[in-house]
Amino acid sequence: MTKAITVSGLHKSFGRTQALAGLDLDVETGEVHGFLGPNGSGKSTTIRVLLGLLRADSGAAQLLGRDPWADAVELHRRVAYVPGDVTLWRNLSGGEVIDLYGKLRGGLDRSRRADLIDRFELDPTKKGRTYSKGNRQKVALVAAFASDVDLLILDEPTSGLDPLMEEVFQRCVEEERDRGRTILLSSHILSEVEELCDRVSIIRKGRTVESGSLADLRHLTRTSVSAELTGPPNGLASLPGVHDLDVQGHRVRLQVEADQLNAVLRSLTDSGVRSLTSKPPTLEELFLRHYQEAE
């Protein structure tokens, strides 16, 4: 299978700030690829290089087998893009913008457009200036999903959507994958990526630090647990896969690797549980733990 995106050793500096410092990225055709990194790690810069908006200082990049800078216009017929911060023209209606983008890409599926407007609950007659952030994002999403393209590049596309609309978004991404389209989904929310993506690349400070299937990256997905117990905890420290254990009287905080969760819970219930919360670690926590220590 050919690769939809290949990037190797990409460098890009803006004056003295180095945005990309040897970034690598491989996206297979037909997969949903998560592009993860904290704010300012170089996700948007990479995407802008892939769209031919920026010119890389060095390194190689290929989009659908072609040069994203030299062949930008022909490539963009087969690519739809949703920026993280959508700005619209104040006096054009949302419907006009959707159709404009569609025509500029070379076609729009009318029935899919109607269906998407319906599902995203978007009013296409409102003018650009009257949309909220989330609704501006919906305009760009409808235009992208209704376009007949091979590759979708979505840059933090859900940052303004409410949870219901995020559901709709996730269904749409799955439908696109089922049609055989390739999707590059940039995000700083790990759970969103876990839900949708076949493979993930994690970048930090302009470099790729991890890349692979979610199973490969399972070691990253620890759960943080905090519990209030009826008796004193015992034996937790000796369990494998437990990290950052913090015991204060009957209160316990810890992080545990996914495959050791069962043993930890058993140990907690042995002591008697009064209350328990568990949540997946945020990406920032992951970074703090995995990569800051390594430096």
């Binding site: 908006l53 920026p83 023209w89 006096n91 006009e96």
Partner: protein, 536 residues
């Protein structure tokens, strides 16, 4: 639910309406710390440099008396510069520069007020500010006070700088110029309540400022003591009627105060009756399906309003100035210096032709402002992030730019043609020579527009310099000839190289050369645009 559950809406009775005004004023002045001092300094320097320049052009009292007498008798010259009330150096300064300095003060004031009111609401920043301890009337008050500080500084500089020519006259001129500023500051505050776009509010208020100038010109062409009703309607006409350096009529200052207070009051009343971010001319729903299908169609959709506004303005101003051209034949006496000035501005043949040539040149220099603003749509589309998704479609940078540039360069031709048609209609003459004269301006207009293409192509950060270039051309064209500036200085402006039509001889050399320069600048600018990173 009781009737008292909701506070009265339009009331200004609350003691906290103005909370935070001081902090906002300080914040506004900090944001404008470059623009306001620069604008005030340039305007003041323009005024303060006049007595010295005038002394070198009209060195004897007899010559000064002569120019005053000509203004008394020649209506088209009066239309351009206004009547002379005193042949002292101070009086001539007020005559020659007062109206233009007042226009500059008006532009500064309206921009300052809209920038700190409607622009803030449009961008959504006002919401954040208003969520703090900020009274409902505080933003408008702070904006008007910011304009007041700027206009006061200008008035003070002019009063102090011209005191040597007579302190009473200097004070009157300073207060009058600042007064015109405040009239347009408060007018902008009203307009900003009606539009929901800052750009439109500035455009409309600017249009009213232009109307005030045309009214004064038409009024002054019919009377030689600024007493026509048309002049009295115009705040710029009030400045003439204040008669700085010519036994000042101080009561005219009350007009400025009354107008500013009334308009300010109206603005507060209107502002108290609407919600933050809303306007009295709200957005209507648009079509659910769009017909725009190309980058060029989008560019036209974005710019068509501006093209229409400039077209109407140029045509109307053309008719007005065409109508007062006949009076140019009234010229009696032949002061060599005046003739020389007119010839330098407009050409050597008949005085009517010279006047028309002057007007055509003015339209050309204003059209350069249109061309620059139209080209710089590229800049605003890029810096606001709207160009990015367009260019992420199957649209190349050249095709994206081409739409806007076509509107800029063809639009300049269109508005020049309309000004020529207006002049022809108002003057009632053969259209050929006048239309040719307006079109001959285009190479210079295009050169300034092309400079904007080049600067934007090199880097969006350089783009604002194209405004400076167009402004310099305007200043050299208007003030230069009267200041006896050497031709080498006047030649900095592309307009300085054009043949003086109608009346003069057509010179293909400079016209061709300027067109070639413009084409080269555009080519280099576009090549640079293709190569550089998009600003994000």
């Amino acid at each position: 639910m009781t009737a008292t559950a909701l506070p009265a809406r339009a009331g200004h009775t609350g003691s906290r309406q103005l909370a935070g005004t001081g902090a906002l004023l300080g914040f506004n002045l900090r944001r404008d710390r470059v623009v306001i001092p620069a604008w005030v300094a340039v305007t003041a320097l323009l005024v303060l440099s006049l007595p010295g320049s005038l002394r070198s052009v009209y060195s004897t009292p007899a010559e000064r008396a002569d120019i005053a007498r000509q203004m008394l008798t020649n209506s088209s010259l009066r239309a351009t510069y206004g009547p002379v009330f005193s042949d002292s150096l101070g009086g001539l300064t007020a005559w020659r520069i007062g109206g233009y300095a007042a226009i500059l003060a008006g532009i500064m004031s309206l921009i300052v007020v809209v920038r700190h009111t409607r622009d803030e609401e449009e961008s959504g920043r006002q919401e954040l500010v208003s969520s703090a301890m900020v009274g409902r009337s505080a933003p408008l008050t702070a904006a008007l006070l910011t304009a007041f500080v700027a206009d006061s500084a200008l008035a003070l500089l002019i009063t102090a700088g011209l005191a040597g020519q007579g302190s009473a006259g200097a004070l009157a001129l300073g207060l009058g110029i600042g007064g015109v500023g405040m009239v347009f500051a408060t007018l902008a505050a009203i307009v900003a309540q009606f539009t929901d776009s800052g750009r439109l509010a500035k455009g409309l208020t600017g249009g009213l400022l232009g109307t005030a100038f045309v009214l004064r010109a038409v009024g002054d062409s019919t009377t030689n003591d600024a007493s026509s009703p048309a002049t009295w309607i115009s705040p710029i006409g009030w400045l003439e009627n204040l008669r700085p350096f010519a036994s000042e009529r101080w009561w005219v200052l009350a007009l400025f105060a009354a107008a500013a207070l009334l308009q300010g009051f109206a603005a507060y009343e209107l502002a108290g009756r609407r919600d933050v971010g809303m306007s009295f001319l709200p957005a209507r729903p648009g079509p659910a399906n769009g017909r725009l299908g190309t980058a060029a169609a989008l560019a036209w959709r974005l710019q068509r309003g501006a093209v229409l506004g400039w077209s109407l303005g140029f045509f109307a101003a053309g008719v007005a100035f065409g109508g007062i051209t006949k009076g140019a034949a009234d010229l009696v006496g032949d002061n060599a210096k005046t003739r020389e000035i007119i010839e330098r501005m407009g050409g050597q043949s008949g005085i009517e032709d010279a006047f028309l040539a002057t007007m055509v040149g003015m339209f050309g220099m204003l059209a350069a402002l249109y061309a620059v603003s139209s080209v710089l749509r590229l800049h605003s589309e890029e810096t606001t992030g709207r160009a990015e998704p367009i260019l992420a479609n199957a649209v190349g940078r050249l095709r994206w730019a081409a739409g806007h540039l076509t509107i800029a360069f063809a639009g300049a031709a269109l508005i020049m043609l309309l000004s020529g048609l207006g002049l022809t209609l108002g003057y009632g003459a053969e259209p050929g020579p006048i239309l040719a004269a307006t079109l001959v301006q285009l190479p210079a207009v295009w050169t300034l527009g092309a400079l904007a293409v080049l600067l934007h192509g090199l880097s969006p950060r350089l783009s604002p310099l194209s405004w400076a270039a167009a402004g310099l051309a305007l200043l050299l064209g208007w003030i230069g000839p009267a200041l006896n500036l050497p031709q080498t200085v006047l030649d900095i402006s592309p307009f300085g190289h054009l043949p003086k039509l109608p009346g003069g001889d057509m010179a293909w050399g400079p016209v061709t050369a300027l067109t070639a320069i413009a084409a080269a600048l555009v080519a280099v600018g576009l090549a640079a645009l293709r190569r550089r990173d998009l600003t994000t």
